[in-house]
Every structure is written in structure tokens, then in C-alpha cells.
Symmetry: none
Subunit: 209 residues, 4 copies
DNA sequence: GCCTAACCGAGACGGTACGTCGGGTCTTGGG
DNA sequence: CCCAAGACCCGACGTACCGTCTCGGTTAGGC
């Protein structure tokens, strides 16, 4: 590895403590006040930094929030091989629901998805750094199933991905925001069951043939 | 119902021309500049009205836009009985895609969905006046299928609705915004085909049993 | 007077109370903190107005201060005819010194003259609305003396004006700022005496001839 | 005097090239952009130095400018004995006008005088290092005249000094800034003639008595 | 045929946050 | 110990919109 990506620039180094203080402040303010209450001035004030330090490193406050999400909730969702497409799907959906239905995480994700619609610049960033990665994770499952031979014939992983993420996001975006405490957790898991059932059972006709 | 809903108030009547000018201006500004470029002052200026006239009749600019959507695109999607769940689904999905992939309509819908995430007040309004109506329309199809007896056994209309709307919205929200001209129209229809196939074919095993 | 200078514009009228509150606040802040401590934000905060209201009516904070000077100290200095150039000069100088050596007024005048050097835009305004008016006042005295016949032969009112205002301003600008209490008041009046003596006595050689 | 004034401090010596680069940059920026365009960051950038190097050696940018004035224009004005108060005055005024009406020098002097009003710290410095020196130079002339016996009886050198410097500074500060090219040079010299005439002729009545 | 209530346009108002600029300090690596 | 570079905290800038509040003027019932 002879290549040095950072050619030893002169001058003071970026402050890691400021970085994490900013991300934490952004996360907290979003959870407490929602996106309209998230202001660059507020982040700077709570983080004890100058506004310029925020503008120097992030193009918009939505980008701050995206970094904060990566810092806060480790979005990586395990991809262990459970031996079957159904079992892999189950784990993927369960963990996604657990993560996405956490009120704080959910609020931030709703906010990010909303902002991605409104700000094209950030939209591209969000799609690349979040949505695409999640989709890539799903593709690991699907291609594993294809190799294993238990991916339903006559269907494409592309559709399955869209159905899975569509269900997840629609649940997040179309449902009323959780009032305060953890509301019904049963329903989403029933949905996951039904979806898995649909996506895996539908291969039977082919097998019968 | 002899009672008059509007108790014949005295004074000048609401100006219909101002109302439509405001809705048109809001629509155009959103399409041209996106939501950040949609300001109450801008709407008033383009519509040639005072700001107060907007604040008098709508609680927020997102509500203006929601009214504008109702004015502009007739969102009603036909629900003719085509004799089978598959055919009904086909028409529903086709018309939804045609409507939702129109760049102007799509931009406004993305904006409204985004705003619904950010502003809880408007979120409730959007869910009631838009999402719930679309879901009700789908339920007509589903219950028709149930009565007709060709709704797949072992599944619930609730899941189907979520899969249908999840797919539609995910396509709208997760895709990059259309650059300018009408981009690929083929893909969405292939998706619709595959979804219909999945939702209708999966009943066969049951029938076989 | 058929001409109407203000053609009855529509919309809300300018608030007189905001105007005076702004001018008062600007005056006080300058006296208390000096020009570097005079900020538009500070004026707005103390006056209880929005910043925009200041920017709407004045091009810079120096212009606010110039208006405040006109409001606060009535800069008009009496020009009664005292029968001779010497007596008129005496009153003019006395009143000018009394006004200009008032610590508050002096601080503001130093500030305005300084700002006029730094900001060409305001410099033009200050010269027209302040310096030129003071010079015009002096010219009334001088031309009265010329008509009366007791203006010293062989000299021009232009030089006298420059000497008078030069002395006044040099005293204000070159002297250290008054620390706190009223410092020596005797010296300036002695200067005035000597200047009057010089400007009026110098006509004697001519008279002798 | 074996003692070394600078106690041979250890470490790297002050860079003379940085010093002159900073002074030159400050002068140029003031002439080009005026005082508002003179920033420490700008000086450092043009001089190719760090900001810290400026803060290390000068308390404010006005002090930099004062040093730059000393470097640039040799402000010393000759004090040769011309045999009479009138002739000495003439040379003093002529050279002062020549220097002060040079557009670049004038702009810097206006700026320094302005800054001296606004910043008390620098004001003290400017009065000591600039105004007081000029006044001392004038006093050499005056005391020479007193010794020689041709200083006008019944007047004080203090008044003459104030009139001379008052006229000079008022001309600089109250006149509109020169647009670009050298404007009327005749008028100031006529003023100088008239002032000399006034200050020297006025002694005749006394002599007659 | 006036009243009078509600509408309308215009636009000034008190605010909040924006994104930028510059000040003055601190940190890094090199001379 | 000096120096260039540059990140840091901070405060003010001037702008953009917000949502509210007068203004004068317009439109209709209802007396």
C-alpha cells in the first residue's frame, strides 16, 4: 500500500471531538424537535462549536443527520446464512423492523427520506449511501438463494427487493408517527410472516410441475 | 337535511379567481423550483394576491399543494369490474403508474409525502385525504375479489394493499428524480406484471389441495 | 400646493414609533459602547424591532446615526444678527464649541466623520446633509458682514470658513477622547477668542491706509 | 554602551521579508479597496504569510497601516531655515499639501484618522506617533520665528498650529474623495497663500503702534 | 340606498434562521 | 523560537420568509 491518500497537508487537523459532538447534537435535536426544529445554529449551540465548522464539512444539515445515523445506529444488518431463503428473509425483515420501528431511528429515517425528496443534491447522496447499501445487502441474500437453488423460479430478485423495501418504507412513511411510547409491535411481525409466506410459498406450483 | 351548511354569512364572498390562481401558482412553483422554492410570498406574488388571502384559507403551503393536486390531476382512478382480481389489479396498477410517473405529478406527490413526514399536522391531513382514499379504492377491488371468490386463500387484502402501495411509493421515492424528459416507462409495467403474477398465481397451490 | 409628494401608496404605513426607537437606541449604543459596539442587531434588540426594519429605511448604520443626531441634538445654531462680524463669529464659535464638546455629541460626531472617510457612500451623504449645512450657516454670517461692510478687506469668506471649521474639527478629532467627566472647558473658549481676534483685527491695516 | 538592546534571544529571528511584505500588502489593499476591504486575512494572503505573524507583531491592522505609511512615504518634511516665518510657513504648507493631496497617501491618512476616532487604543498611538510629531515639527518653525523676532506679537504659536493643521485636515477630511486622477491642485495652494498672508500680515498694526 | 361585515391587494412589522465573512486563538509540521 | 497553513469558536453581517398586523378599497346581502 504505497499510495498515501492524504498527502500530509499542513495546518491544524480536523477535530474528532467536534465531529462527534455535532453528530450527536443533530441526532438529539431531530428526535426531540423534529426536522423543522433542527437548525444549524441549534446544532452548533448544543455541540459547542461554530457554525462554520458544520458548513466546512457537510453540505447540508440532512447530510449531518445521515452521518449521525451511521454513527448512532449501526445500520449493518447481519447476513448470516440460515440455510434457506425463508430463514434469511425472516432475519432480514425482523431486524429491519426492529431497527426501523425504534421511534428515534424511525423519526430520523422518515426525515432523511423526506429530505431526499425535497433536496435533489441530498437525494442522490441518500440513495447512494443508504438505499443502495440496503439493497446490496438484500442482494446477498437473494443471490445466495439462487446459488442454493431455493429461490423461487419464475421470479426475479429485483421484484422481491422492491416488495420487501416497499413494505418496510410504506409502513414507516404511511403510518401515523408513534405518539410517544412503543406502540403495537405485533402487527409488523405478522406482516413479515405473511410476506415471507408469499415470497417463498409461491415457488410450489413450479415444483409441483 | 334542511339545514344549510353555510349559514348565509353576510359580507363579500370568497373570490374563486383568487383561489384557483393560488392553486395554479403553487403547482407551477413546485414543479419549476421544487419545494424549497415554494414560498407563500412567491405564491402570492405569482397569483397576484395578498399573503393574508392564503393564510386565511389554508393552514400551510403543503395544504395548498394538496388542494392543487386535487384541482390539477383528477386523482380518481377508475374501478370498473373487469371480472377477475388479476384484471382489476392490472388496471389499478397501470393507471397508478401512468399517473405517478408523470413528472409533474410525481414531483408534487414526492413533495407531499415528504412534507407529511416533516409536519405532523399536515401528515394527518395527507393520510386522511390522500393515502386513506387510495387505500379505500384498493379495498373495493379486494372485497370484490373476495365476494367473487377469486381472492387467494390464506392471504389478507391488507397485505396485498401494502405490497401494492409499497411498490408504487418505493418506486417513486427511491428512484432518482426524472431529469427532464420522460424516461424509461417499460420497467414499471414489467414490475406491475410480475407483481400481479405473484399476487394471483400464489393461490394455485391452495386450489390444488 | 396642488402637488402631492406622496401618491397615497397602498399598504401599511411606516411606524413612527419604530423609527424613533431605532434612532434612540442607535444614539445610546454609540455613546455607551462606541462605534465598534454599535451593531444592527444590537440596535434592533434594544429598539424592539426587526433588523429588516432598519435595513428597509437606512442604507447603513452610520446613516441611522446621522438621523439620530438630527433627532437628538437640534444642530441648528442661531444666526441672530449681533451687529458685527466679530459678535456673530463669537456666537457661532461659542455655540459650536458648546455643542461639539458635549461628550455624547462629540463622540457621535467623531464617529460620523470617521465613517464618512471609510464609507464613500455615507461620506457623500454626510457632506451634503451635515458639513454643507454647517458651511451654509457660516456663509450667512459672512455675507451679512460683507453687506454690512465690516468683512475684512483682502480676504475671502471661503478661507474664514475653512479656518473656523478646521479649528473646530481639529480640536474634536486630534484631541484625546474625554475620559469621563467634563474636562477643561476654558481652553477652547480662549482659542475662540484668539481666532476672532485674528479674523477681525486683521482689517485694521487697510483702514489705516 | 556595551549593553545590547536586544538581549540576544534564542530561536529563529524575525523575518524582515515577511515584515515588508505585510506592510506593502496592507498599503496596497487600503489604496485599492479602502479600509473595509483591508482584512487581516487579506493581508496575510497577499503577503504570503500566516495570520499569526501579523498578530504577533502588531496589535491591530490600523497599526500595520501606520507602519506602512512610515515605510512608504517618508513623512519627514524639511525644516530648513528660510529666513522668515512667512517663508518657513510657505514651505511647510506646500510640502504638506503635496504630500497630503497625493491620492494614495491621502486615502491612507483619512483611514488612519478615521480609525483613530473609532479605536481609542489606536487613537492614542496615532496621536503620539503621527499628530504629535507633525505638531513638534511646526513648533520648530514657530520657535525659530519667536527667536528671530518675526513671530506676530499678541498671538500664540499654539493657535497658529491649530489653524495650520485644522486647515490641512479639514481639506482632507471634508472634501469628497478624489475620483481617480489628480484633481484641481491650484485651489489648495491659493488657500496656503491666503493663510500665510493672514498669519504674517496681522502683525503690522502692532508694529505701527 | 345606504349600512356593515367580510373580503381583497399591498406592504410594513417583529422574528428566526440562513449561509458567509472576518476576527482572534490554537495546533500542526517544518526551518 | 519563528513561520505558513489552516481548523477552531465566535459574533455580526445582510437576506429570505415566516406569520401577523394595519391600511385603503371593493363587494355584496340586509335593513
Amino acid at each position: 500500500m504505497p499510495s498515501v491518500p492524504e498527502p500530509v497537508r499542513p495546518g491544524r487537523k480536523r477535530s474528532e471531538s467536534s465531529r462527534t459532538a455535532i453528530l450527536t447534537a443533530a441526532w438529539e435535536l431531530t428526535v426531540e424537535l423534529g426536522y423543522p426544529g433542527l437548525t444549524v445554529e441549534g446544532i452548533a449551540a448544543r455541540a459547542g462549536t461554530g457554525k462554520q465548522t458544520i458548513y466546512r464539512w457537510w453540505p447540508s444539515k440532512a447530510d449531518v443527520l445521515l452521518d449521525a445515523l451511521a454513527l448512532k445506529a449501526d445500520v449493518q444488518i447481519g447476513l448470516d446464512d440460515h440455510g434457506s431463503y425463508a430463514a434469511d428473509l425472516r432475519q432480514f425483515l425482523d431486524r429491519s423492523f426492529v431497527l426501523g420501528l425504534n421511534p428515534s431511528v424511525m423519526r430520523v429515517m422518515r426525515t432523511l427520506m423526506a429530505q431526499a425528496q425535497i433536496d435533489p443534491e441530498f437525494g442522490a447522496c441518500f440513495r447512494e449511501q443508504f438505499l443502495a447499501r440496503r439493497r446490496a445487502a438484500f442482494e446477498v441474500l437473494a443471490s445466495r438463494a439462487v446459488e442454493r437453488g431455493d429461490f423461487p423460479a419464475g421470479r426475479s430478485p429485483a421484484l422481491d427487493a422492491r416488495l420487501v423495501f416497499g413494505l418496510l418504507w410504506y409502513e414507516v412513511l404511511a403510518a401515523p408517527p408513534p405518539l410517544d411510547s412503543g406502540s403495537a409491535d405485533a402487527a409488523p411481525h405478522a406482516l413479515a410472516d405473511a410476506l415471507i409466506d408469499l415470497l417463498t410459498r409461491s415457488l410450489t406450483p413450479e415444483e409441483l410441475a
